[in-house]
């Protein structure tokens, strides 16, 4: 993250991500830095409105399968994860982006899917092989949207 990890999209090896993850684990508890990621190279400016649509889309973002949040129009929301309300106050955009790219950097046991990692999964469905859940543009859109969720 911030130039330390490798993920699908920037072509650097996944080994670096694991090394970075282990480095984070090895830090003494007090000094543990929160993982961060620099903006991904994208072809257009981030669109937070589209980010909101992705978060609510049960087939694309999948977020509300696990999370709840300030989405009064969504009848069914999940309770497997904290509410997204106020996420933009608790985390910086760089931290939100890092969590979306690969939430395992925060918690190795997490159930939150890695949204911008196309390698390392076992038995990827053929239709999704080699593909990330979201594109770089979509990661930037969702990051921009989450940053607007302030308390």
């Amino acid at each position: 993250m911030t130039g330390r990890t490798g993920h699908a999209g920037n072509g650097r090896p996944r080994g670096l991500a694991i090394a970075a993850f282990l480095a984070v684990l090895a830090m003494p508890a007090r000094a543990q830095p929160v993982p961060e990621a620099a903006p991904l190279p994208v072809s257009r400016p981030a669109d937070p409105e589209n980010g909101r649509r992705i978060v609510m889309d049960r087939r694309k973002g999948l977020c509300l399968l696990c999370h709840s949040g300030p989405f009064p129009e969504m009848r069914f929301q999940g309770d497997l994860a904290p509410s997204l309300a106020g996420a933009g106050s608790r985390w910086t955009p760089a931290q939100l982006r890092a969590r979306l790219i690969d939430s395992r950097l925060f918690n190795g046991e997490t159930i939150m899917p890695p949204y911008f990692r196309a390698e390392g999964q076992t038995r990827m469905a053929r239709a999704f092989a080699g593909r990330t859940i979201l594109t770089a543009e979509e990661i930037e859109d969702v990051t921009a949207f989450l940053a607007t969720l302030r308390e």
């Binding site: 049960r58 999948l62 509300l64 399968l65 696990c66 009848r75 069914f76 929301q77 999940g78 309770d79 497997l80 159930i111 899917p113 890695p114 390392g120 999964q121 076992t122 038995r123 990827m124 469905a125 053929r126 239709a127 999704f128 593909r131 859940i133």
Partner: protein
Amino acid sequence: MTRRAALALALGCLLLGPAPADEIHASQRLSGYDMMGAEAQAMQRDDFANPAMLAVKEGEGLWNAVPGQGRPSCQSCHGNAAASMKGVAARYPAREASTGRVLDLPGQIQTCQSERQGIAPAARESAALLALEAFLAMQSRGAPLASPRARGLDDAVSRGEALYRQRFGQLDLSCAQCHSQNWGRSLGGTRIPQAHPTGYPLFRMEWQAIGSLQRRFRNCMTGIRAEPFPPGAAEWIDLEIYLKERAAGMAMDAPAVRP
């Protein structure tokens, strides 16, 4: 105790390991029936409302039918299923005595079709095979699921547990993360069950049809965007054996209804 024996014991403990922290205590086990809504429960309790009972009826017909001239029916060898097949489904998958291979119930039916009736076995998920499965499962209604370990299937239990704990697919999730660590919670409005295989084959409202345990597994695999194993694969049977060990002692409620 010698030092070597102590070391061996310590190593043994390490290898066996402690019970996983997410293991569901026997007193906390809930079947899919226990966890579903009152409406679906009522539908399952009433044999006239339970659509899976149609398959049972069809299966009874197939049990008695002569599959071709000069070929024996299931009934001609096995007699009255209410007696000969009582409790049989509750102890499947099982090891076939003559060959040593492990068969699940549909696999056993297919084997009798090809080797004893001399006909082409019905395909997995075909209406005919599901009907025979449902008819046999009916003869085990209320019977406790038998422990696969107790009949020497330890290796399959371990392989099945490894699969259960393996993350799969683009979403990188394991069965255990949903069914052992987050059961009872709402996945976008759907309550996550504990995944006890007590009711198969069963009528699932989402399918609007009766389906097998492997079809259910396939649904969960494609849900996490993983490539499912092929029908009848050894991996599915290992998974079934692990889930049945985990559910050993729970009463069968097949042919069930699920949302």
